[in-house]
């Protein structure tokens, strides 16, 4: 019984096969990350609940009509690139006095860099941005407006984080971020049903 040695398989072309597969996967793979503006929708409200009455000075009204024109506070026509500055001015105003804020358990905004105009918002926690669009508004415009309004908050948070921690908002600890998000500059953007 002579043992015959099995002939070895030539594995020289293994690399070629593997390369072929590798190139296939290299080409088909996509490493794109999805990015976008994250928002949270309001919960469905009981229709019987009466909405709380807001002081007009604490509401920053932004209207976008079907021709993609922006009207701010009911009287100023604005371009998109002016919107962010206007929103920052409104949120950061901090015009409330100690007495007027007492009933809401708030103290005057000490970190606000605004004009303290008594006819504008009292406190960042009370400042509400109300966005009203039309059904015919283009999505591109709508996203631009949303972007600027979110950007206003981002800018303010960055200014505050830089003053207090010497770093940008995204670089500080989660606990500090949460504190700023909840107590310093909470993002209050309310969207009304679009007009027909």
């Amino acid at each position: 019984m002579a043992r015959r040695s099995t002939p070895e398989i030539n594995a020289g072309s293994m690399a070629d096969i593997a390369f072929l597969l590798l190139i296939f996967f290299l080409v088909t793979t996509t490493m794109d990350v999805d990015t976008g503006i994250s928002r949270k929708l309001p919960e469905k409200q009981d229709p019987n609940i009466v909405p709380p009455v807001l002081k007009e000075k604490n509401v920053f009204e932004v209207n976008v009509n079907r021709n993609d024109e922006i009207l701010v506070e009911g009287d100023t026509y604005m371009k998109v690139d002016e919107l962010r500055a206007a929103a920052i001015k409104f949120i950061d105003n901090g015009g409330g006095t100690a007495e007027s804020l007492q009933k809401d358990n708030l103290s005057p905004c000490t970190w606000c860099g605004g004009d303290k105009d008594p006819t504008s918002s009292d406190h960042p926690k009370k400042a509400i941005i109300s966005l009203q669009s039309d059904r015919g508004t283009s999505y591109a415009m709508y996203i631009s407006v949303q972007n600027e309004l979110v950007g206003a908050y981002t800018d303010l948070r960055n200014i505050y984080a830089n003053k207090k921690f010497g770093k940008d908002f995204k670089d500080i600890s989660n606990a500090d971020q949460k504190k700023i998000k909840n107590d310093i500059y909470p993002q209050i953007i309310s969207e009304a049903e679009p007009t027909k």
Binding site: A11, M14, A15, A18, F19, L21, L22, F25, L26, T28, T29, T30, M31, V33, D34, T35, G36, I37, S38, R39, K40, L41, P42, E43, K44, V64, D68, V80, D81, S133, D134, R135, G136, T137, S138, Y139, A140, M141, Y142, I143, S144, Q146, N147, E148, V150, G151, T154, E193, P194
Partner: protein, 155 residues
């Protein structure tokens, strides 16, 4: 003189025995990371708007996509695509319920709906979608955008 007529020294060949191993390693890496497109677009590819206040969508398995755009044959009106067919706005609740069924209770709270809409669609369509999402309490949404200058959208 014969001393100088030496045989030419041959360059030793580089050992390529480990080449397949290296290639296989790369191959497995790409095989694992590659994601094949699950959905075919039935509408025209949406041209996403640009924005700079963007966040990354972290877990792709927890994201449901709603595509909004124009139909391929240019019939007027905005079309909505759920999974791989063009649907009506009223189909969104069942779409969300279907997606929820695939996830555990814990993950359902983290489900995000990504709206991939074309720049030219009307806000009315988006608003109808949002209304449907509110009805089924799917509140986390993400307007899919490209990274860029938001002012480029409107010119």
């Amino acid at each position: 003189m014969s001393k100088f007529q030496k045989k030419k020294k041959e360059m030793p060949a580089v050992n390529t025995a480990s080449l397949p191993d290296i290639v296989f390693m790369l191959l497995f890496f790409f095989m694992v990371t590659t994601v094949m497109r699950e959905t075919d677009l039935k509408i025209k590819k949406p041209k996403l708007p640009k924005a700079d206040q963007v966040k990354k969508l972290e877990k792709k398995s927890l994201v449901n996509y709603i595509y909004v755009g124009k139909s391929k044959d240019d019939t007027p009106g905005d079309k909505i695509q759920l999974n791989d067919r063009i649907s009506k706005v009223s189909d969104i609740p069942s779409f969300i319920f279907n997606a929820r069924r695939k996830h555990s209770e814990e993950d359902v709270k983290k489900l995000t709906t990504s709206i991939k809409a074309d720049m030219k669609v009307n806000v009315g369509t988006i608003s109808d979608i949002k209304q449907q999402l509110r009805n089924v309490n799917a509140l986390k949404i993400n307007y899919s955008t490209l990274k860029g200058n938001a002012f480029d959208n409107v010119k």
